[in-house]
Symmetry: C2
Subunit: 334 residues, 2 copies
DNA sequence: CTGAAAGCGCTTACAG
DNA sequence: CTGAAAGCGCTTACAG
């Protein structure tokens, strides 16, 4: 049988209150008492009952993280960063996937009931609308958002518009005038603010350079290897294809790179490519990209979460830097 | 204030016992009563207190997953598979990283106290020794192992020895006689049984073909892009380098591919390469590999976990198939 | 089908 | 520094 706090108290000849204090390292316990309690607990293999602690103490020392996918590079890095910080602080991490619109709504519907299960909820590329956010707040969740500037809660992101602007400007400065963008539309019809901001940046750079954006330069679908392949397939059948494309993720760009090779499209000779992320394989692949500090985004978000309730009321938004990394896949048009 | 079950009971004019039954869909509740209770709970925004449910009910509907890393492709796919099955069954997932030996011991030390926090523990590429496993069992955990055949608990894996044997034999059948292997040693000094089994298979194939294994054909370190790069660097300075190398992961093989290109080593002309996993990018890269059903490993492991306690006593070990996928990076030596 | 009551195992004022 | 006691909010036999 599991030992309970009563067992320890009896064996150590103290009250359960003292056992509780001693084991949690609280003040006002004589050192000799503490030693005896700790030793007894050890001997009996005592560990506090989780449910009982949560019920009596009111905290779970658990943080929830909701994200659309866990099997893509970006999220896996975020996860690692979050986990590292949280576990160092003695907190656990429970994850929720909200990939499809259905799962997203299901999660939102359940969020209220999660209140007593987690001490905080980290929204990773999860964008509630104003009503949904309102409801999350009213449920009493400690919220931190990663990926977009959400009013009213602490959030952390890169400047997606600016990063896309700079990526596009890089291609313009190389001399390209026919520049496409890939990754604008996702499976879900939810317009992701992240992708929308990148499209804005792209269009802004074109406009500032006096260039036009032909509608059919918007290529591909999801930010995956398959999406990149698809983008190249679309490009390959155009009569006047772009000479440079900005891909919204490196995985997508790498899929494009491979498909271009297969179709005999030379990179960067026929086509310049710039990606986004600085994926582990980007350097190996020679991929030009916009580097974002992904893992650090995760660890910083976790730190923000742990610093509740030290936040100001309302949301402070923090912006992380993005760096242009020029490698081999972007060059002047020939 | 949060509404409690008492609030609902009072408003719906029933006892708390009836509220509890009605809301959890148990039998022996009049349909009209149930409707009234559900409607009242809804109206009050009632959700059961997690800690109270766990304490009174004895289950958490939460599964723990411990793995060495979460930021590598393999684990991210496993995680997605596990999450999908678990969430469909209404279970939550809490993750623990045990990357370094220190963290590994720390997790093991904590495992006992996790007993009331999770209903089951999934070991992903986490290999306790016999004593450690014994202790996990004695703590009362429902255990499922993914990655190795562990006695006494249900487990699921591929046949790493056989897969490595076939990868090596593929290279032999192409005509190679100088064949290296990359990925044998990890940072941690823990000898991973997975890697050991792959080395066994490699050596077995060589032996069966009457070939020798020169000691310095064991290349590289970790199963990462950087590890692959390192393997090629080591190979490049050898006086009689292998003409073919079996890499223990695709990420490693892709790092190697890139570094080979950089150093002017032609693949497959100068060097044949076969990887392991069938990473998302393997097809795009033209990488020959041993395909393992990674995501499915995750979902099956989760299903095994959910089927407790229907297991036989002791562990049934299940083997998943691995398939040789020949693409462009492996060819006869020239 | 429903209720009264015990019990789950802690934490936290309150006293001393 | 320590203890007695209330209280956290559920679930589950046991009766009826």
């Amino acid at each position: 049988m599991r030992a309970t706090i009563e067992d320890v108290a009896r064996e150590a000849e103290v009250s359960v209150a003292t056992v509780s204090r001693a084991l949690r390292g609280m003040d006002h316990v004589a050192e000799s008492t503490r030693r005896r309690v700790v030793e007894t607990a050890q001997r009996l293999g005592y560990a506090p009952h989780f449910g009982a602690s949560v019920l009596a103490g009111g905290v779970t020392r658990t943080i929830g993280l909701v994200a659309p996918y866990f099997n893509i590079w970006y999220t896996s890095q975020i996860l690692a960063g979050v986990e590292e910080v949280l576990s160092a602080a003695g907190h656990d991490l429970v994850i929720f996937a909200a990939d499809t619109p259905v799962n997203r709504d299901r999660f939102l519907a359940r969020a209220h009931s999660l209140r007593t299960r987690i001490d905080g909820l980290l929204l990773v590329d999860f964008f509630p609308d104003i009503d949904q956010l309102q409801r999350l707040i009213e449920s009493g969740h400690n919220l931190v958002a990663l990926g977009e500037d959400l009013d009213r809660i602490p959030s952390l992101s890169i400047d997606n518009c600016d990063a896309a602007y700079r990526a596009t400007r890089h291609l313009i400065e190389l001399g390209h005038t026919a520049i496409g963008i890939a990754g604008g539309h996702q499976v879900s019809l939810d317009p992701s603010p992240v992708l929308a901001a990148r499209i804005d940046g792209y269009q802004g750079a074109l406009a500032d350079a006096g260039l036009e954006e032909p509608g059919d330069y918007r290529l591909g679908g999801m930010l995956t290897v398959a999406g990149g392949r698809q983008a190249i397939d679309e490009l390959a059948v155009q009569s006047a294809p772009p000479t440079a494309v900005f891909f919204m993720s490196d995985e997508m760009a790498m899929g494009a790179l491979a498909q271009a090779r297969r179709l005999g499209i030379e990179v960067p000779g026929d086509l310049s490519i710039i990606g986004f992320d600085d994926h582990d394989l980007a350097e190996a692949t020679g991929l030009s990209t916009m580097r974002q500090p992904v893992r650090q985004l995760g660890s910083l978000a976790a730190e923000k979460m742990l610093s509740f309730p030290d936040h100001e009321a309302g949301g402070i938004h923090e912006l992380m830097p993005v760096e242009l990394v020029v490698r081999d896949t972007s060059a002047p048009p020939r």
